[in-house]
């Protein structure tokens, strides 16, 4: 069943058109991540769903009900904010129960719900503290709890982790994932951190300039990006690109390098003419093994970045910057000659002008 459905949504700030005829539908229990560069309209979209912004045009359905004009509190949504937005003068308990009290829920019921949420989130010992006396992670949990007690169908998260340090972020990411597994609610999660997106999402919607570029599973997005923007955006270090021509034989030529694309699954037969070829740094094979790859070429390591578990190597192939990611035990030094092996199956081809995947 569709949990949230957005139809032809337009949103203007004055004369600026931030969301453009956006359509999106989210299944019940799905974990959808909105991913995109800063300013692409992720928060705006989330606020529209929450009812915090008046849409300029279009409709929003939640659980089949048209909520386009409904008040935020009537939509059956809960929201977790980047700054947590806890009420600083109230205890954790007060924060959790304030909304319920306001809805004139019986005291007992409130107690029960707060207790349940506190248990789920393991914040029972914190109930009488004020937010000021909590750590970042604990605050985060209270913020989630506030949505939890309201027993909503849809959770909205607006970059809930981006104020935290890397370590905590990794931990809480796992916690949110666990929570989703436990509760099974629909969750819409905004982030611009691709690691979060990849690890959390059932599906990712990549946004750019108020439009959804690709809506698909993390795996699909990673391996079969719909266009060059998505391909470039996802993956760190970024995908390597070559600018070249595909000839009549289905071969991609860049400078002296020729890559045979016969194993590449073109959308419609083969393509010809100017194209981009993208290749992920981690799909590169080095050393002995490279020689057995369909494509191999020599290059000089320019910069070597050992990162413990991995090593990044920066080099140049046919005049294009080329990044290689290899495992941390590989000892390469700057200036070393390398044999670089690539498998065309892992490549992505994009049209030069439309930048769409072919």
């Amino acid at each position: 069943m569709t949990s949230v459905s957005i139809q032809n949504l337009d949103l203007n700030f004055g004369s600026v058109n931030v969301l453009k005829q956006l359509n999106l539908s989210i299944e019940e229990g799905e974990f959808l991540v909105l991913l995109g560069a800063s300013g692409c309209g992720k928060s705006t979209l989330l606020n529209c769903i929450a009812g915090l912004l008046d849409v300029s045009d279009g409709q929003i359905f939640i659980n089949g009900k048209n909520v386009t004009w409904a008040e935020p509190s009537e939509r059956g949504i809960g929201m977790v904010f980047q700054s947590y937005a806890l009420y600083p003068q109230m205890t954790v308990k007060g924060n959790l129960s304030f909304g319920l009290k306001n809805a004139r829920m019986p005291k007992q019921e409130i107690e029960a719900r707060v207790a349940r949420a506190a248990e789920i989130l393991q914040i029972e010992p914190l109930l009488d503290r004020k937010p000021g006396a909590l750590s970042g992670g604990q605050r985060q949990r209270v913020a989630i709890g506030r949505a939890l007690v309201r027993d909503v169908d849809v959770f909205l998260f607006d970059e809930p982790l981006s104020n935290l340090d890397a370590k905590l972020r990794a931990e809480l990411r796992v916690e949110i994932k666990r929570l989703h597994q436990k509760l099974g609610n629909t969750m819409i999660y905004v982030t611009h951190d691709q690691v979060e997106a990849m690890t959390l999402a059932d599906r990712i919607a990549i946004m750019r300039g108020g439009l959804v570029q690709q809506l698909a599973s993390p795996d699909e997005i990673y391996n079969r990006p719909a266009n060059k923007y998505v391909a470039d955006f996802i993956g760190s270090p970024a995908m390597n690109f070559f600018e070249g021509q595909i000839d009549a034989d289905g071969k991609f030529n860049v400078g002296k390098l020729t890559i045979d694309l016969k194993n590449y699954d073109f959308a419609d037969g083969t393509a010809k003419g100017e194209h981009w070829l993208g290749y992920r740094p981690e799909h590169v094979v080095l050393g002995e093994a490279a020689l057995s790859m369909p494509v191999h070429v020599e290059a000089v390591a320019d910069i070597v970045e050992p990162m413990g578990s991995d090593t990044l190597i920066w080099t140049k192939i046919e005049g294009h910057d080329f990044r290689i990611r290899t495992d941390g035990q590989q000892k390469v030094a700057a200036g070393d000659r390398l044999v670089v092996g690539m498998d065309p199956r892992f490549a992505s081809i994009f049209d030069k002008t439309t930048e769409e995947r072919v």
């Binding site: 008046d54 849409v55 300029s56 045009d57 279009g58 409709q59 048209n66 386009t68 004009w69």
Partner: protein, 304 residues
């Protein structure tokens, strides 16, 4: 348009697009109604001043202070500016105006300069005891003037500054210092400290950093300080009375003199014109830079 949408939704058609919001919702009526009444309360005295100052005495005696003048006359203004008498001096406010200008310019400039340097030193060049002096200074902001009026008379006498323009300037600098220093200190503290460090690494000294780095970045706070000082100094009465002599009386003191020198009947129109004239400089400053002022205040100028 809005009306249209309403009927559609009432007749069961799906909500779509922006939620209809009538212009005349109770909320809007409440908000704008309240604001309107409030605006009248605040604007009324100005209106009364202007209206009264444009009436002739007979019309005033007939008496509705809110009624617009039947016959507009600028005579009260002329009189207030150039003819109103205090004792034998019938020069109106004009002399006081120029006195105020003469007091204002050096006082404002000097007090802002000194306070900004103080604030800068306190924010970026803390030295042993600087916080103590600052605390004393802040305490000074709250000391009732009455506590130190008299000792200052003695100090000015010893410095041979009493009754001179310089003396009054000094008094204004002193009494403006606490609040302005606080203002500047807070502002300079809010500037990134790294900027200051970068400049030090670049070999700039105390004055170099102040003039080349800090000053060019401090327009908002200077505007706030300027407005506070201009209005404060211009509107000052107590110091003007105590620390000057009639030749140097600022405008407020002359205003009070003129208003309180009653000859025969009270000439309310002249009084109001005089009042307007006295208020006009700060009003202009304020109207011209109100937005900057508000922004400066919002920039944390008043915090802490």
């Amino acid at each position: 348009m809005a009306n249209n949408a309403k009927t559609i939704s009432a007749s069961g058609v799906e909500p779509r697009g922006p939620k209809p919001r009538p212009m005349l919702s109770p909320r809007n009526i409440m908000i704008y109604g309240t604001l309107f009444i409030v605006a009248i309360y605040y604007a009324l005295p100005l209106y009364v001043m202007v209206v009264t100052s444009l009436k002739g005495m007979p019309e005033i005696r007939l008496g509705n202070i809110f009624a617009p003048p039947v016959e507009v006359t600028f005579e009260p203004w002329v009189k207030a500016w150039a003819e109103a008498c205090t004792g034998l001096n019938c020069n109106g406010l004009s002399q006081g105006f120029w006195n105020s200008v003469k007091i204002l310019i050096p006082s404002a400039a000097l007090s802002i300069l000194i306070a900004s340097i103080n604030g800068y030193a306190l924010a970026n060049w803390k030295f042993k005891g600087s916080e103590v002096f600052f605390t004393i200074l802040i305490f000074g902001a709250f000391v009732p003037y009455q506590v130190i009026i008299y000792p200052i008379v003695i100090i000015l006498r010893e410095l041979n500054l009493f009754g001179k323009l310089g003396g009054l300037v000094m008094v204004h600098v002193i009494f403006g210092m606490p609040i302005l220093t606080l203002l500047f200190r807070n502002y300079f503290t809010s500037l990134p400290e790294e900027l200051f460090k970068a400049a030090r690494v670049d070999g700039a000294g105390f004055w170099g950093i102040y003039f080349r780095i800090m000053l060019p970045m401090s327009l908002p706070i200077f505007v706030v300080a300027l407005i506070l000082q201009v209005t404060g100094i211009w509107n000052d009465f107590l110091f003007g009375v105590i620390y000057t002599k009639p030749d140097n009386y600022p405008m407020t003191v002359q205003l009070n003199n003129i208003v309180n020198s009653v000859q025969g009947v009270k000439e309310y129109n002249v009084n109001m014109a005089a009042t307007m004239l006295t208020g006009i400089v700060p009003l202009i400053i304020y109207f011209a830079s109100g937005k900057l002022f508000v922004r400066g205040i919002a920039a944390g100028a008043v915090k802490g």
